[in-house]
């Protein structure tokens, strides 16, 4: 900075930024790959002025000054171009000459990310350390009176149900009278949660669908994925693979014109319909697809103009109240598919979840309740929503399950847990904990991106630029130059890897507990935690 330039309030030094570029002049070949790949243009080729002084021995010669220039990499300090720490520069550098380093100082950037009065928006999830799930352990190991089972040799049936299950008395009456029973799907307890076509790139979406189809058709694992609010590619709607897909309808109704028009041509029913009322990452706020990502294809599928931001309203505007909305939308969706497809609502984790649940127990058509906890991810949301709004999933699910158990409806209304499952990589352990706390199934989103496509985002506020479509891995971008980086076949392979290894780990958890023929839903006696208050709250054992 020149001495005659004023210092603006938002003038920052590199030291003030959360990520600092460490560049090694000796190793750099000035190939330019790092500056080309940087998704936020945080670095640029720089011309550096170098002055050196030469002083010969003795006093005869005067000191000599020499000025030269050299070229290198310069980090910008404008808040709009602050490094996000994605480290793509490091990934592409042939010599390993550059890498972002997390600042050892409290960052100052956070005070300036609201230029023009626009609060920070980003993708990713709550920038917070892992929650309670990682502290839960499985303590009820079958030892003396019964041998633990063999995860490798015994037969296992780790399936779950999605849809309204009638109580045994009503079931038998309906069987005898040949009456109508609500549709129920037998599915794998780990689901891919709602990530829209639009939030994700075409290659990522294709990879997910291919992976899910392979798991179903070649490996016999009934894995299901939810579309999120962005419609569904027309060819998929008309294909036999639709049965592996849960179509989501949310308050913006994006993509539903296309879906309704495809109804007569559908060869298969979708697995289910998810009505989204809330999302864990941005509870009480609507969906958001920022204009950067609304290209021609996305606009066509969603039935909107190109290049405009697509915020969904926080609630379904056509309805007076959520109770009425749930009842009416569930009915409408059932009718659309001739009462053959289960319909269930998804809400964000909240202290009012039980009110919604109680309402659903009295609605004979509600096919389940998905609750998305505060650690859920998103493609775009206000940072304040992500970091400070919402409810942890563990107590929400536990309270919901115990409420159902008191009503005797624990088997009738499946609970689906989401939000931060596998946040630290412990996917199977987190999922099994939630199942034993009472969930019938669990949903993952961010984990599928991280493990399935190499998403770089982290809760250390790394990358997290899904919202502007500049995803350096091509996972959440609609720019062909970026999403071409992602090979859908490879994503599909990784999705298969995730589920097959998850299945192994799940067996390694349930077999020592003596469980194999049914999913241990609500088997809370198997759980322990080293926090007394958490154990009291979750009604599990306190162990130290």
């Amino acid at each position: 900075m020149q001495a005659d330039r004023p210092i603006a309030p938002s003038s920052l030094s590199v030291k003030d930024l959360p990520w600092q570029i460490a560049w090694n002049r000796d190793l750099c070949t000035l190939c330019g790959r790092c500056t080309a790949v940087c998704p936020v243009h945080a670095i640029e080729p720089g011309v550096f002025r170098k002055r050196s002084l030469t002083q010969a021995a003795g006093l005869l010669e005067k000191p000599r000054e020499e000025v030269s220039v050299f070229y290198g990499i310069r980090q910008k300090t404008d808040p709009a171009y602050a490094c996000v720490g994605c480290a793509m520069c490091n990934m592409v550098c042939p010599n390993g000459a550059i890498t972002p380093v997390k600042s050892d100082e409290a960052q100052k950037l956070v005070y300036h990310l609201n230029q023009g009065g626009q609060p920070r928006r980003r993708g990713g999830r709550r920038n917070a350390p892992p929650g309670i799930l990682d502290r839960i352990k499985f303590i009820r190991i079958s030892m003396l009176t019964d041998p633990a089972l063999d995860a490798g040799r015994h037969e296992f049936e780790m399936r779950t149900l999605l849809g309204r299950v009638l109580p045994p008395e009503d079931t038998l009456t309906h069987v005898r009278d040949n009456g109508w029973m609500p549709p129920v799907r037998e599915i794998y307890p780990l689901m891919i949660g709602s990530m829209s076509f639009g939030a994700l790139s075409p290659t990522m979406w294709e990879g997910l669908v291919m992976g899910v189809s392979y798991l179903n058709e070649e490996l016999g694992m009934p894995v299901r994925m939810c579309t999120g609010e962005g419609g569904c590619p027309p060819r998929l709607l008309r294909s036999r693979f639709l049965k592996y897909i849960i179509l989501q309808i949310a308050s913006g109704y994006f993509g539903w014109d296309e879906i309704i028009h495809a109804l007569p041509e559908m060869r298969e029913d979708p697995c289910a319909i998810e009505i989204k009322y809330g999302q864990g990452a941005k509870p009480g706020d609507g969906g958001l697809l920022m204009w950067h990502k609304v290209n021609r294809l996305i606009a066509a599928i969603r039935g909107v103009p190109q290049g405009v931001s697509l915020p969904s309203p926080p609630t379904h505007q056509t309805k007076y109240s959520i109770e009425e909305s749930v009842a009416k939308m569930i009915q409408s969706m059932y009718m659309a598919w001739g009462f053959r497809v289960p319909v269930y609502p998804k809400i964000s984790g909240t202290s009012t979840a039980l009110a919604v649940l109680n309402n659903l127990t009295r609605n004979p058509f509600a096919g389940g309740l998905a609750i998305d906890g505060e650690d859920g991810g998103t493609g775009a949301a206000y940072n304040v929503s992500m970091d400070h709004m919402g409810h942890p999933i563990a107590t929400n699910i536990r309270d919901a399950y115990l409420t159902l158990a008191r009503l005797g409806k624990q088997n009738e209304l499946p609970l689906i847990a989401g939000g931060g499952i596998g946040k630290t990589g412990n996917l199977a352990a987190n999922a099994a904990s939630l199942i034993m706390l009472g969930a019938s199934a669990v949903q993952i989103g961010k984990y599928a991106m991280q493990a399935g496509a190499g998403c770089l985002g982290s809760e250390g506020d790394r990358c997290n630029i899904c919202n502007i479509g500049r995803c350096p891995k091509g996972i959440t971008s609609q720019d062909p130059r970026l999403y071409r980086r992602l090979d859908p076949e490879k994503v599909a392979e990784r999705i298969v890897d995730i589920f097959v290894s998850f299945d192994q780990e799940l067996k390694k958890i349930v077999a020592p507990l003596g469980r194999s023929t049914s999913l241990p839903i609500g088997m809370a006696d198997a759980l322990g935690i080293d926090d007394y208050h958490a154990s009291e709250r979750l009604n599990i054992r306190y162990v130290v």
């Binding site: 049936e157 038998l172 624990q410 003596g514 023929t517 088997m523």
Partner: protein, 377 residues
């Protein structure tokens, strides 16, 4: 692991027949307790088939409370077996005041009540007595059953010692159906309500092995709105209640195994009753046991059966001759009870089998889970 023995016979037998069978299987139990369920009673109870019999253990104070209570309800004692025990209690057995087996006459006010209502009232009285006995930690009343043609005895100690002490070889206890368990205790302090066999409204079962799915099953049963689904001092009590619930649903015994260990998803479509089984598996998902368990039980009509869990990790054998069949944890128990049988016809049920001996006691019928179910009524 406990040892189980059950016998059904045309000729009334002494409970000692079962006690001796348990004794030869003593390697498999630690002598920490014995439980007996007797039905098809002969002797003095033969002539009072409809009179409800109260079985339990009482202190003198408990007995007084019982008499006051029963008098208030209107029950009159019809017949009783007094088991007076010698003054010196054998090692390993607690000292008790009174083992009670008492048949009652129904109150006059019960005349004309339906069978269902009568059954509900009998159960309710048993539960109330049990609650009274547990009030203020009195433990002055322990009640096992209150039902016509059923006697239950449970006590801590080695089966043979207990039987000798209580002189079970007495003519009043002759019966045609006996369920007996030799206990392998897993708790240091033994709660008699945790001892097998378990009983509810004429249905009794006893089980080998741990029930790993106990907690979700207990929660499911407790939330059925049926007052008898309570207790659960033992994880095995749920097997009795699931059987009772299966009966309440109007399902035949053959369906019990489909409730506790349903067929795999890929096998159900091959079954002739695929529609029913799919619906049953889904709606009774919380009643799936996860073994390893072997269950022996008896229905109100004296049908006796044995089922294995899906993994078949527990021993169990059934054999005998027309007129007399026994179900046993081990073949040596069977040999001790019915030596003169065709051993080549002994049968060890596997993971799909329910072995059933009907009230006629003519044969062992094997119902495989892949067989069609009897038609529902």
């Amino acid at each position: 692991m406990c040892r189980l023995f059950a016998v059904t016979s045309e000729e009334p037998l002494s409970p000692m027949r079962a006690i001796h069978a348990l004794d030869v299987m003593r390697e498999g139990h630690d002598g920490s307790g014995v439980g007996l369920f007797l039905s098809g009673l002969a002797g003095p109870f033969e002539d009072m088939k409809d009179a409800p019999i109260l079985s339990g253990i009482f202190t003198e104070e408990g007995l007084k409370r019982l008499d006051r209570f029963m008098m208030e309800v209107g029950f009159v004692t019809k017949y009783k077996v007094s088991i007076r025990t010698p003054k010196i209690t054998p090692k390993g057995m607690p000292r008790r005041n009174r083992y009670l087996i008492r048949a009652y006459e129904y109150p006059d006010s019960w005349d004309g009540v339906s069978r269902e209502e009568r059954d509900a009232r009998l159960m309710s009285i048993r539960l109330q007595l049990r609650r009274m006995g547990q009030e203020n930690n009195h433990e002055d009343m322990i009640v096992y059953s209150f039902w016509p043609d059923v006697i239950m005895i449970k006590e801590i100690g080695d089966p043979l010692t207990v039987a000798g002490h209580l002189e079970l070889d007495r003519p009043e206890l002759l019966s045609r159906v006996i369920l007996a368990q030799g206990r392998q205790n897993t708790n240091y302090a033994i709660n008699l309500y945790a001892c097998h066999p378990f009983f509810i409204q004429g249905v009794s079962t006893m089980t080998n092995g741990e029930n790993t799915a106990f907690v979700p099953i207990r929660e499911f049963l407790s939330s059925r709105g049926f007052p008898g689904y309570t207790g659960y001092q033992s994880d095995s009590e749920v097997f009795t209640h699931i059987l009772h619930y299966t009966m309440r649903l109007g399902l035949p015994l053959e369906a019990y195994k489909h409730v506790i260990t349903p067929l795999k998803d890929e096998d159900i479509p091959k079954h002739p009753d695929a529609g029913l089984l799919t619906a049953l598996k889904r709606s009774c998902r919380f009643l799936v046991i996860d073994g390893p368990n072997m269950v022996i039980g008896c229905l109100p009509d004296k049908t006796m059966f044995m089922v294995q869990d899906r993994k078949k990790l527990r021993p169990g054998v059934v054999g005998g001759r027309p007129g007399m069949f026994a179900f046993s944890s081990e073949i040596c128990g069977l040999d001790a009870a019915i030596p003169d049988r065709d051993k080549s016809k002994d049968f060890q049920p596997m993971h799909l089998d329910t072995a059933i001996v009907g009230p006629g006691r003519q044969e062992v019928r094997i119902c495989r889970q892949t067989d069609p179910l009897p038609r529902l009524h």
